[in-house]
Amino acid sequence: MNEVVLVAGMAAVTFAVRYPVLALLGKIELPPLATRALRYVPPAVLAAISLTAVLYPDGARLHLGFDNAYLGAGIIAALVSWRTRSLLITIGAGMAAFFLWRWLLGG
């Protein structure tokens, strides 16, 4: 019973974040400044997700150094992406680099 409340509540607030902005902003004409600002949302938010993921592998502790396989493999993935522009090759190379890095660290 409590779980029904939990799931329904989580579903409701998540939909309340996603949907209304999509529906309402589509109805009004945004000022050009806002339209231009929104162009920077994708690189800013994706870089934020990527960079925190490699620098905080456990979510809580900043981990700078060669013994951080997330960081090492992340840098390699970024270089591969820059050279190839291919998502699939980037993921493949990144995973290979990640497992190799962990293996070299003895993990």
Partner: protein, 246 residues
Amino acid sequence: MPERSTRRAEFLAGFRDTLPLELGGIPFGIIFGAIAVNSGLSPAATMGMSLFVFAGSSQFIGAGLVGQGVAIPFIILTTFVVNLRHALYSATLSLHMRHLPQRWLVPLGFWLTDESFAIVIRRYTQPDDSPHKHWYFLGSALFMYVNWNVCTLIGLIAGQVIPNAQDWGFEFAMVATFIGLTVPMLKDRPMVIAALVGGVAAVLANGLPNKLGLMLGALVGVAAGMIAEAVFKPTPAVVVNEETST
């Protein structure tokens, strides 16, 4: 890309372009299913989260809080805050989805995730004027949704069998996915600066609770991009021209 101009072709292209993302999505979903049942959620509630909430990181946090015995209203509030960045995605996508009726906006809004946003905004910012780009969104989102739920199911069944699935390292696939989606977006200096400043700000703000650091990083990055744009490209007219030609 004229072959993308039909609805069916857009739908299939969205499906196909989402395939690489499932490399990260599959282990993510399986690990969620395994962790959720091990943290004390019933299998029904675990599936219910994937079916009705459909927001990966907040589901992980929600399951974790259930395991710690946190009160339900607080878990729901946390979910809201964790997912706040989706409002930024909605705002960005709304510019391209003005013409769509509610029967499209409601399901596509429900299916909006980090992954779908990253892949779909790439399609929307391509210069061709296909009127069916929402079919691309549908193909991508439906694939993510079905895959997420199937993998949750696999994870919750295998959860008792597979020990420590989260320590195997497959979650790096999702990190590599986000990197592979970010780097090709950095086409000019303002974009690079928005990404660098946004990334660094999010790292510095990582101590904030409930992933608010991501939200703050995004906003600071957007501001930095705007400032860089004013410095490097003084007139808005130039920006509009570049937008239509790249």
